[in-house]
Symmetry: D2
Subunit: 311 residues, 4 copies
């Protein structure tokens, strides 16, 4: 099962579960995968930006991806393979595709500047991993400092057939979706899937601009699934109501650096992870921050009972 | 009346009103100023990051600041004087302080990197404008790409007596407030005022961490005043309720580049500006975006009647 | 006399002479101008990157440019007008063009990233200063962090008629000259003048690739004139011999930050400036560095007697 | 044999030899190693910035390092292990130290900004690879965009005992050497070795400022050995004469991006590599550039017969 440009819905970005001693927490990998399946996800992305991939040795990365791929047998699993060089990217791609991955995700190295450099990089990357491997183009200037105009995205889509999906995380990004969809309608750009990241901060209006869903790691992927479903089925105000109820917490989670600690903490409280541990080096959640997250959860629980867990 | 480290409350960042032909809209300057006075602002900042200052000639800048200073006679007015060189910074400072400004605001040039460069820059700037001119340290890494650790802020505060206030816009920034206030309590740092910017995106918890108020340009400064007042008076949940109602719009306004167009559009709809025009070069608000803002305002009006204006 | 795309030869980048107390040293401005005229310069650029322009108030900038324009009556004088906003750029352009400047030079703000942003900026700048003002496009990624591909330079040349010259300082930059000249031969790009900066570090081969001359501030502009003349007249090895003799010093002067102090020190020793003073903030030449420069001059004097001055 | 802070002389940065088809050219690895031994090198660095390390899979990296370590039995071999995450860094360090490496070299990730971030990174890296592994601190802001003040270098040296050497490539960098050596003399900093990179562009004066030698990949490492030897033995003018003769070529080789192609081409012409091939993606040496390099070699041969090879 290969990823195609028809993918829609929600592909949660899975965190990598660790035990307190830094060992990989395989039981939580299974629990997470089962949860994603149960809440209506249409795919899963592992070893992404917040999957702590750089803290994993090659064999560990392959093991984690393989375990999730097997468990999620009905869902396509995309594996982040971004690397400073094509050798490591190719090696990881080869091993996870052999294990049944549906495709890979490639972020741009933060040294790219000009349009030509960006397009050239993705051509080379696609050639390095093999033209038969579908890949996701990650467009996240806030983190990678690489700015892709809509025209650059189109050039990549047109010149690299194995690009099947855009992980859209530009900020601001609403007009970019409209522009790309407009080009598709005009027939000047091939259709690709657009799933939205950037913590989901603009998912409400991104759906209305033509996005196909979400591809982010917010600690309530079930809410993302609901919002995407409500929006797709025309229940506009219900989608906004649910989204707005989560926005204070979602905004809190979408803080650079500390965000992953918030996310793992909530997922632990939800029973999806046995521990909130990160491998070193890790941003720490202070006591004050933990209290704030608890406060946000309490307030959220008034609108969404899924935040009303006890422990 | 000089700005001191005791300033608290809300100092709105004033946009610069223009007519459609690019001329300065003096009537709207007066209307805005009166509105800030009426809604409980404790000061005003003009010619800041979103005041389109680089599009103004020196004499225009002085005129705008002077007009606002006179009109706001009871409130301290801080003037943004950031410039690539100390000559222009000194010239503008001299002229606006002569006109009665309470102090100036200085953003770091985006070429600063090391701790020493940052501290050195502010020492030189303070010397250039004169040790008798109180200044606001603007800490906005998202926009200026200059990263100031808490230790660097403390060094500036300790080594440059004329620094009286921090415009706090780091992201994430909650721990920074706690650290600085901790140092004040320990006696290892002189007290300064901390007013929060970054569009107000974390104002709810920033107040609880020890901030003194807000210093940002959100199109509902009256909401900022209410939240700061509620928070300061211990009405925690009421503060959060009001803040959360505004968060969907506030988040929408806090988009880089296009944010000012959103802000001016709302202020025009509120009757605070006669036009949403910016001087060139300006980011345009598309029809789709305008519709989204209107939608956000309608939804907000269910919670806050100030968004229920008709026109 | 307006600058045209036919300009050739050497346009030295003039430093701004100061007295020890920071006052402008008008006598040295005259002396410098006379020296440029005498050594065969075909034009002069003032208030460039190393002209300490940000340390000058507007009126001072106009005075310096005006004085040099009058003194250099037979030579075109280009004035650097780069500014963070178009208001200041337009104001300085207007005043120096009124005073007889041949054109202006515009560096890109260091926030530009994508091809579209760069082209858009120069279109807006050209409109802001007026389509009748010839301008020099400064392409110096090392300093400004803006990377212009040859295709971007071509777009600017084709879409903005008032762009008449490229100050070429990309590094590496030899292939860029070949590419641009190739496009001119093919007829896909209008001809513009290419004068080389980057301290002159590759002037030897830049001339052979098709450059029209030099536009840099090395302390021996007379050497630059000789090398350009020798190269243009086919005396290839003589050009290289002279260039190579200067290369150890030229490389030493071409150090970021401290380079201007080296340059002013040598010009003072040559009798072209009455003082090596810079306005604050200034990089200091340490005693060790001064000794090294003296050593380099002694060694150079064995090949070029112009370095054998006594004082 | 572990690397210590007493290392002096020249440690060439070895390129990774490839055959035209991208296979590793083991015969050239041996030839290169023998050449380094013969010309007086005191150590070798492999898989550095210009060793095309990101194009190698883990096993290939280990094989190349191991082969060179065995062949160079009398010389310490340092292996570049810079990686985006500590997992890959630790894995490569472990394998090459097991194979007999003398130490490793670590460049900073280009996301580091503040002093604290830089010092923190090196503490974490040293802990990740093990406190018993000596490492080289690579300070190359031009390439990595990380600016380390002398005070930051000192903090790393003082707080991380396994840091034994500075690969000094700051530009400008002369004062930094003087400052660090001054601190050593004062007793406020532990002694470390300082070997200079940045293509050797300032090696002449760096030696006089207190550097211990060179750690760069210039295609004439034998010249570097001679200059270091002459300088160390007080033959100052002879050192400069030889250095200056090479400077035109050295400057040409020290061009970002294309430099490695120049270097491999010259080494091929010298018979040290069987091919100038790089693995993809590779910067290409155009015909015009090759002609320029040949011209530079011809001119150099008048002063140094080592450049007078025929083929």
């Amino acid at each position: 099962m290969k990823l195609t440009s028809d993918i829609r819905g929600v592909m949660p970005i899975a965190p990598t579960p660790f035990l307190e001693d830094g060992a990989i927490d395989t039981a939580s990998i299974d629990k997470l995968t089962d949860f994603y399946l149960a809440c209506g996800a249409t795919g899963i992305t592992v070893l992404g930006q917040l999957g702590e991939a750089p803290k994993l040795e090659h064999a560990e990365s392959v093991d984690i991806a393989t375990r999730m791929i097997r468990r999620a047998s009905n869902l396509p699993v995309v594996v982040g393979v971004s690397a400073p060089g094509f050798a490591a990217m190719r090696a990881l791609t080869r091993d996870v595709m052999d294990a049944g991955a549906a495709g890979v995700m490639i972020a741009p190295p933060n040294t790219l500047r000009t349009d030509e450099q960006i397009v050239g990089y993705y051509k080379q990357a696609a050639e390095a991993i093999g033209a038969d491997v579908p890949f996701v183009l990650q467009d996240y200037p806030l983190t990678f400092t690489v700015q892709m105009t809509p025209a650059v995205v189109r050039r990549i889509v047109q010149e690299v057939p194995s690009c099947v999906m855009l992980k859209h995380e530009d900020w601001p990004g609403l007009e970019k979706i409209s522009t790309l969809r407009g080009w598709e309608r005009e027939g000047t750009m091939r259709h690709i899937s657009i799933l939205c990241g950037n913590g989901g901060l603009f998912l409400d209006y991104e759906m209305e601009r033509g996005a196909d869903g979400a591809n982010t790691g917010y600690a309530f992927p079930d809410m993302l699934c609901d919002v995407v479903r409500l929006s797709a089925s025309g229940q506009r105000e219900e989608a906004h109501d649910l989204f707005d109820a989560h926005l204070p917490l979602l905004r809190y989670e979408q803080q650079p650096g500390v965000g992953l600690a918030v996310r793992k903490y909530i997922m632990m409280r939800r029973g999806l992870l046995s521990s909130a541990a990160q491998r070193k080096p890790a941003a720490v959640l202070t006591a004050a921050a933990r209290t704030e997250v608890d406060h946000l959860l309490q307030r959220l629980a008034r609108h969404d009972r899924r935040a009303a867990f006890v422990n």
